[in-house]
């Protein structure tokens, strides 16, 4: 997975990831095996898609809480469409269209109606989950053609299909964010929406599109999860949106906009995946893993935020230096 950028200096999260990997492979025997690494990456593939969508939205200083239920909705509706006898490719395209539609509604509500992102996407969370539960009759849907499993179990040139899909999507996103007008405008909007608007960027359209992409990627993750489990449930994606937010933040993308991108996101996803896997291998219970994830999230956020030349500074916050360095009005964090 494309974690190899030409960066001369490593970012904080990348160092954390490397330290984690080194420590785990030193202390856990079964960690550095091809089977296990394959396992980590495979488990991370769904999350990496959702997190990439979340990353774009967070770059806009927004948030998308609807991803988990959009995943469920997409999985369920694709499963229903496929079990009606629609061929694989049109079925998946239809499913992705539904997901993108949900995202675009979010974007429309946020950019044109000016509802706060938190509220719009949270409402969409409820609505998409409700629709998914209703159309699936709250049951597990299975019994669609086996060909779907290709998405998760297939191989292209000896590489598992999920890695290929995730790799391609990350390359596209990397290109989109770094080398297109759209990407530049996203960073600009995240930095200062008013300034972006005044300099003639189509802010409203791009915000709406970004939420559309977020929905689309959530849908792709939903279909991948469906292929993995060979069944679909309305609630199967619930919780992914929070994991995704955690991953994006762990990667060092700034919630208040402006910093971060595809490389940072995949780093964050891998940090989460490695922590989970290492704890699993040691035999820590799922519940304590939750505690660890919460803890790591907060600690890494603090480290990322208080970067300084002095390594000790990372651990101890700089005392309030005055008006400039203290929290400004937007330190409220939404």
């Amino acid at each position: 997975m494309g974690k190899k950028g030409k960066k001369l200096h490593l970012s904080g999260p990348a160092i954390i990831l490397i330290v984690l990997v080194v420590v785990s492979s030193l202390f856990i025997n079964s960690f550095i095996r091809i089977g296990n690494i394959n396992n980590i990456l495979r488990q991370a593939s769904m999350l990496s898609l959702v997190a990439m969508g979340q990353c774009i939205v967070i770059l806009l200083a927004g948030i998308d809480l609807s991803q988990g239920s959009v995943m469920g909705l997409t999985g369920v509706s694709t499963a229903l469409i496929l079990s009606k006898g629609v061929p694989l490719v049109p079925g998946i395209i239809l499913g992705l269209a539904i997901a993108m539609f949900c995202g675009l509604i979010n974007g429309y509500l946020i950019s044109y109606v000016k509802i706060p992102q938190f509220v719009a996407t949270f409402g969409m969370f409820g609505m998409a989950l409700g629709v998914a539960l209703v159309i699936s009759d709250s049951r597990v849907i299975w019994g669609f053609p086996e060909t779907v499993r290709v998405i998760h179990d297939g191989e292209i040139l000896g590489i598992s299909a999920p890695f290929v899909i995730v790799g391609i999507i990350y390359l596209i996103m990397f290109w989109l964010l770094k080398f297109t007008r759209f990407g530049t405008s996203i960073y600009a909007i995240g930095g200062n929406a008013t300034a972006a608007e005044l300099s003639g960027m189509p802010v409203k359209r791009n915000v709406m599109l970004s939420y559309g992409i977020s929905g689309l990627l959530a849908g792709a993750a939903g279909i991948m999860l469906m292929a993995r489990m060979n069944s679909a449930r309305a609630i199967m994606g619930t919780g992914y949106e929070f994991e995704a937010i955690a991953a994006v933040i762990l990667g060092g993308t700034n919630r208040l906009g402006g910093k971060g991108g595809a490389v940072e996101t995949i780093t964050g996803v891998l940090i989460l995946a490695v922590v989970r896997n290492a704890l699993n291998l040691i035999g820590v219970s799922v519940y304590l893993q939750m505690v660890a994830v919460g803890f790591v999230l907060i600690v890494v956020y603090i480290i990322n935020q208080n970067k300084g030349s002095n390594p000790l500074r990372k651990w101890f916050p700089v005392k309030n230096k005055g008006l400039v360095s203290g929290t400004t009005g937007n330190g409220n964090g939404r």
Binding site: V119, L288, M290, V291, V293, I302, P317
Partner: protein, 335 residues
Amino acid sequence: MKFKNKLAQIASSLRDTNTSRALFTLLIFFVASTIFVNRFFTLNNLINVLRQSALVFSFSIGMAIAMLLAGLDLSIGAVAAYSGVLAASLISNGYIVLGIIVGLLVGITCGLISGVIISKYKVPPFIMTFGMMKIASGLALNFTKGESIYGLSDKFRWIGVGTIGLIPAPLIICTVLLILLAYFGKRSVLGRRIYAVGSNRNAARFSGIPCERTLMIGYALSGLFSGIAGLMFVARLGSAEGIMGDGWPLQAIAACVLGGVSFAGGEGTIQGAAIGALCVAIMYNVLNLLGVSPSWQQFLIGFVIIFVISIDFIKSQIIRKKNISNKLRTMQKTA
């Protein structure tokens, strides 16, 4: 004469837009459900609604305080579950008072940790309380190993299921809390500071308000009230589970939003949150009476939240436009 003054005061406080709008919403909910739902307007059902709303209110207090501070507290459900679980395990062994004290202390501690990290380390409330949610619910589930804790004494269960006459005990507890909070929210130094920090933190700092300490105390209070909610819920159910507070943050947000507590901070009241909690309770009650499946309930509640907030926003934008055009007109006149 004094009485007249009091009446005038109450009338003027009703004119306070947020609360009056919340009351109006409540009225619509109430009248509509009385007219359209047969079994709604019966004594038993109304008491049921009140009992439910007491619970919703108890866990909405924490969210309301966090929202007044221009943040939010996603950890209320998890903290409630953790303190409820710890308290229940002590109470089922016979230590009622100790259990209650431990439950409240756990709540305060979790809230205080969130508050310290939010204020000292500048971590956004969303991330901090999300992390705290993971930590607390993980600890709670780890403590119970995914099972329920039973065997709570009837003395303790009174605060959840008991009644004085016809009035349920949780309702009395919540009314007392409501009166205290409504009074101290407007009259105490801390209350005023919370409003000031929430509406404009820079301005608050410039006027010499200790912002960090206010934030810390605010989130600690949020944790404390989550602990109280957890205890009440445990007492009502008669058992404690690690997952018991899962849907609470969302319901609490719904209650606060319906009650006119704004996400922007510094706007809204605890009374508003109580009215919002009543609305949420009525909504769930009516949907249950109508036999609506939980899945559609989920959908409808999402829809209602979006609807209420969009009306709110569109209205505020119209007002802002009016203000701007008025200003322009006066400027033109003076020019």
